[in-house]
């Protein structure tokens, strides 16, 4: 059962899942860290990303490497309307944001049901080739997902650490008032972080819809996974998100293969609840004072 080829297979699947989860939860944690907003509508944006990819790649057949970022960009810029109308009222109001954005989640989800009907669709895979490396069979799909996610994450790291706006973002995350005193335009930082967060969520949503299936309700599961990754790593901590997403993706792949999907959900949820009770600030977060 635990032979090297099977474990290798699980590792590849796990990493491609991790890539999706890290992208989603990075955006989630960004919104929390900078705007103090708990974005319960994050899964809804991932779902919109799935539909965008469905049309741009599946229907209009734009080349995949162009279609994936284009779909995510469309969702991100389209969502600026929501930033203006909804999110702006909730910045720095953690509790209200949680409940209000739950409402937004419900509104987006059921608007999607009205537009696209509740039935499930398939987003075609970019490449159907399967590579054989020794005893391992690696689907090209997963490699594309891992590759695009890795590029995005590296770009994000470079942006936050080596550009002026990245510096402004980090300063705002640390202390809004001090950042403003240093002439950081926090409004602009908010819009920028919102764009980045939604872009990553929508990109991940496209991958997720490709890996599983596209439906208006797929956001719920994505949201739950983002929660779990963020809780595992610690809310607001970016290295924490990477660690949490990796643990989550690998354990889902491992437990799912050997013990079935339901058992894996029970075990993961149970473990997260225990962690929350004994160490609510997560593995790499810092306790609030």
């Amino acid at each position: 059962m635990f032979t090297a080829p099977i474990l290798g297979q699980i590792l590849v699947t796990g990493i491609s899942l991790s890539a999706i989860y890290i992208l989603v939860s990075l955006g989630f944690t960004l919104l929390f860290g900078i705007m103090r907003v708990v974005n319960f509508a994050h899964g809804a944006f991932a779902m919109l990303g799935g539909y965008a990819l469905f049309y741009i790649y599946g229907e209009w057949e734009v080349p995949y490497l162009l279609a994936a970022p284009l779909a995510a960009l469309t969702v991100a810029f389209g969502s600026l309307v929501l930033e203006r109308l909804v999110f702006r009222w909730f910045y720095q109001k953690m509790f209200q944001s949680m409940i209000g954005l739950l409402g937004l989640d419900m509104a987006i989800m059921f608007t999607a049901v009205m537009i696209w009907e509740p039935h499930e669709r398939l987003v075609p895979a970019p490449i159907s080739t399967v590579f054989q490396v020794g005893p391992l069979f690696i689907s090209g799909n997963k490699l594309v997902v891992i590759g695009v996610a890795a590029i995005t994450l590296v770009a994000f790291y470079v942006f936050t650490h080596f550009t002026r706006y990245g510096l402004a973002m980090r300063a705002t995350a640390q202390d809004v008032e001090m950042a403003e005193v240093q002439a950081v335009n926090t409004d602009r930082v908010y819009v920028l972080s919102f764009l980045i967060a939604i872009f990553m969520a929508a990109l991940a949503g496209g991958f997720y819809a490709q890996t599983y299936v596209l439906s208006p309700f797929m956001g719920e599961r994505v949201l739950m996974m983002a929660f779990i990754a963020v809780i595992l790593g610690g809310m607001g901590s970016i290295p924490g998100v990477a660690l949490g997403g990796l643990i989550l993706g690998l354990s889902e792949s491992f437990l799912g293969t050997f013990y079935g999907g339901t058992t894996s959900v029970f075990i993961i949820f149970g473990a997260v609840i225990l962690l929350l009770i004994f160490r609510p600030w997560g593995l790499l977060g810092t306790p609030e004072t």
């Binding site: 909730f90 209200q96 209000g100 739950l102 609510p280």
Partner: protein, 336 residues
Amino acid sequence: MSTTTLSSSASRAASGLMSGASAFGVKAALALLLTVVFAGLPLVTTAQFTMSLGTTLMIMAIAAVSLHLIIRTGHVSLAHAAFMGLGAYAAVLGTTQFSLPFPLALLAAFLVPAAAALVLGPLLLRLSGKYFVLVTFLVGEIIRLVFVSWQSFTGGANGIFGIPLPYGFLESPVAYYYFVFAFTALSMAFVARLLQSEVGRSIDAIREENRLAECSGIPVLSVKVAIFVIACGMVGVAGALSAFFIRYIDPTSFSIIQSLNLVVMNIVGGMYQMAGAVIGVLFFVILPEFLRGYVELQRVIFGVCLVVVMAFLPGGIVQLVARLRQLVATRRGAEG
């Protein structure tokens, strides 16, 4: 912190209500009015539609008011519908699988979710606001998954249908209406009395300032756990009443969406006033009746309501009323 500002604005709204000379009188009058209307409704009409709407209203009122108890301690639970489901499944499986007599099955509907709450409460209620919301979200999902995956016992995703009524006389919609009425009246009276009592004041103190309450000698965690247990038991009974009313249960009726509905009712009505929960129920059970056949649109409207209320009026409809009253009062003051 945001929670404190929120609750302090709500308490300002509350004091605004109180400043009206007869605030207590208004509430008593509202309670009396609702009692008379609901008790007398079958005398006016016994149409199937009215009876079933009335029964649904009353069942949801128990559920929403029990969630109100938890919210009053400063925690928003997203697992409340799951506890409702525990009660429903306990009562239905109690009568069908274990052939319990009906009163005992109703007792089980209270005890099973209450026991679950007693186990989970001491662990969950230590968490601060946002973590509590996240964990209850997961707990609710786990409970729903148990309903779905324990197929041999719960009927899985298909649920259980053709639930037999315990007594023949409950077949008549009017009889079942009064049966539920008794439970609702009892629950409302109990919650209202509890909130008026010293325990109620401790609850408000805990929400407003946790540590200060602890310093004043309130056993914070014990009070929170006790309230959580009572509330989950109550919603379990509501679940059982609804199961024997619809005579069908399935896991989707107790999902996160249903929990959210309960939260919506509480928040739109007014989070920190019992009247808020009651107004919320009236609003959100009657409103959908006008949107029948547009279930999705209904949900969208619910969602938008949540956004609007949270952004502009965190104290809900109750706060709006209080503001209007204040406005009228200052106008009068200016004239006089």
